[in-house]
């Protein structure tokens, strides 16, 4: 434990690089998942089409996708012997972003669908009365749901920040290149450095806590200033 604290205080470059990579990978994956998952969720909430119920069930079920399974599938896709091998993305941070984005998009989509559906049932009559067009409808619902959507993104972020199964398979836990907090904790554990691993775990938790606190203060500020 003291080792871990010492690492922070001494501004250990290696630890800093690992922390930075963890944040970059997980935040990028979260944004990607939001860009794909939120419109998908809004679509599932608002548009009637055949197979809509099946889509909702699938999205809900995929919230529980095992990270290691996602990692395996993405690994097979990105491997040189796989369909996207030409891109040479395996064992790079980009692969980790992709794997985590795949992992959390169902969460973002399923929760967005629920939130938008609830809001729509509240707004439906008024929107019909005001003759609000479909595009304006979607943007109004997403904007009015913004606080819930931030919480949804935080849920996705938390899930991605916590997982190790996907990033270790597609990233390879390469020293100085694809090593993140969770894989480092796994590695130090396998080396028997249990106290250090626990210390790193605490650092990871504080990182996640900080991101959440930041999001909370943005919300408070927003609430105060009308909108």
């Amino acid at each position: 434990m003291a080792d871990a604290v010492h690492l922070i205080w001494s501004g250990d470059a290696n630890l800093f690089a690992i922390v930075r990579l963890s944040l970059v990978v997980t935040l990028s994956a979260t944004v990607l998942a939001a860009l794909v998952g939120m419109p998908l969720g809004a679509f599932a909430a608002l548009v009637q089409f055949r197979g809509r119920e099946a889509l909702v069930v699938i999205l809900n079920a995929f919230m529980g996708l095992p990270p290691v399974v996602v990692g395996l599938v993405v690994f097979l896709l990105l491997s040189r012997s796989g369909p996207f091998g030409e891109l040479g993305l395996l064992f790079t941070p980009a692969a980790m972003v992709i794997a985590q984005a795949v992992l959390i998009t169902p969460i973002v989509a399923a929760l967005t669908r629920q939130v938008v559906e609830d809001l729509w049932s509240e707004y439906r009559e008024e929107f019909q009365a005001m003759q609000v067009g479909p595009l304006a409808r979607v943007s109004a619902l997403l904007w009015d749901a913004r606080f819930s959507l931030v919480t949804i993104m935080l849920a996705g972020f938390g899930r991605a920040a916590a997982e190790v199964g996907a990033v270790i398979i597609v990233g390879g836990n390469i020293d100085g290149f694809t090593r993140v907090m969770t894989t480092t904790i796994a590695l130090e554990t396998s080396k028997g450095n249990l106290a250090l691993a626990v210390g790193l775990g605490l650092i990871l938790m504080s990182l996640v806590m900080t991101v959440n606190a930041l999001a909370w203060s943005v919300r408070r500020w927003s609430e105060k200033h009308a909108a």
């Binding site: 990028s28 395996l90 390469i174 020293d175 396998s190 080396k191 249990l194 927003s222 009308a226």
Partner: protein, 282 residues
């Protein structure tokens, strides 16, 4: 107005998306599929900076079990393999996936066990007798169970004792399917015996009540080999930097680098690249 505040926050949170490696960076880096024993022992942390300083080539080590490492290379996802299971390595080359196999270094395996020593094998020099005793005493034994070099060595030793716990799966035989460090952690927690390479054992920080029970048997010899993945099978293999790595590690300089890696004064790996196998101008 407030929409832009949100947009700004999102933008600030997204630090530059990790870009795809530039072509130049690609040239100066290789992927080496290796084993958990070389990673967990810290060997690569010691020797790779020397290689980079000399050649400027970045070595990215993906540490998996030997079986998985060879599979990764078969798929074309690595440029070089550096593992320790000679029969599997030779098969890999025979199948055409590897160019040529070279001896690099050796160490030995050690049979680790609880200080209480329920099977009464401590201090022995015969590992096959020890395994027989463990089986007879039903003492807990942790197996890697992951097609790694260590796992292959372990199975070969059971075979020499005319036993096959991997097939009969008695309750005392615990296959965990994980790396060396995990196996040692598990053995510690279960007060079990486990076969480990000496390098990982020396550098392992959670020994608890475990200690070396049997060592020094000739049959515990553990040879490491290095192979360039065949560019004819996978054109994306970085032949030049990959070969440069192999040349270096077989050269006097590379071999000295291996020799110089010590933990608490103990040398972990013993370089033994054959004179006839060294490249020119190493």
């Amino acid at each position: 107005m407030h929409f832009s505040a949100f947009a700004l926050l999102l933008g600030a949170l997204v630090t530059p998306f990790p870009s795809l490696p530039s072509a130049e960076a690609q040239e100066k880096s290789i992927v080496v599929a290796s084993t958990t024993s070389t990673q967990d022992s810290g060997l690569f942390g010691h020797i790779l900076p020397m290689f980079k300083a000399k050649t400027g080539i970045d070595v990215k080590v993906v540490a998996q079990g030997t079986g998985q490492a060879l599979d990764t290379a078969r798929r074309g996802d690595a440029d070089v393999v550096f593992v320790h299971a000679k029969p599997q390595e030779e098969k890999f080359v025979a199948e055409g996936f590897g160019v040529k196999r070279f001896d690099v270094m050796y160490n030995d395996f050690v049979l680790i066990g609880p200080k209480a020593d329920p099977a009464k094998i401590k201090g022995g020099k015969d590992v096959v007798t020890a395994l027989t005793a463990i089986s007879a005493a039903n003492s807990p034994f942790v197996s890697r169970g992951d097609r790694s070099g260590t796992h292959a060595a372990e199975l070969a030793l059971w075979q020499q004792a005319d036993l096959d716990p991997a097939a009969s799966k008695p309750a005392w035989y615990r296959e965990i399917g994980q790396g060396m460090g995990a196996a040692l952690n598990t053995a510690n927690a279960m007060n079990a015996y486990v076969l480990s390479d000496r390098g990982t054992w020396i550098s392992f920080k959670n020994k608890g009540d475990l200690a070396i029970a049997v060592a020094g048997d000739q049959r515990l010899f553990n040879q490491y080999g290095v192979i360039l993945v065949n560019p004819e099978k996978h054109p994306n293999v970085k032949k030049a930097p990959g070969q440069a790595f192999i040349d270096w590690i077989l050269s006097a300089e590379g071999q000295n680098a291996i020799r110089s890696y010590k933990i608490e004064g103990q040398q972990l790996f013993f370089p033994n690249a054959g004179a006839g196998q060294m490249q020119q101008a190493g």
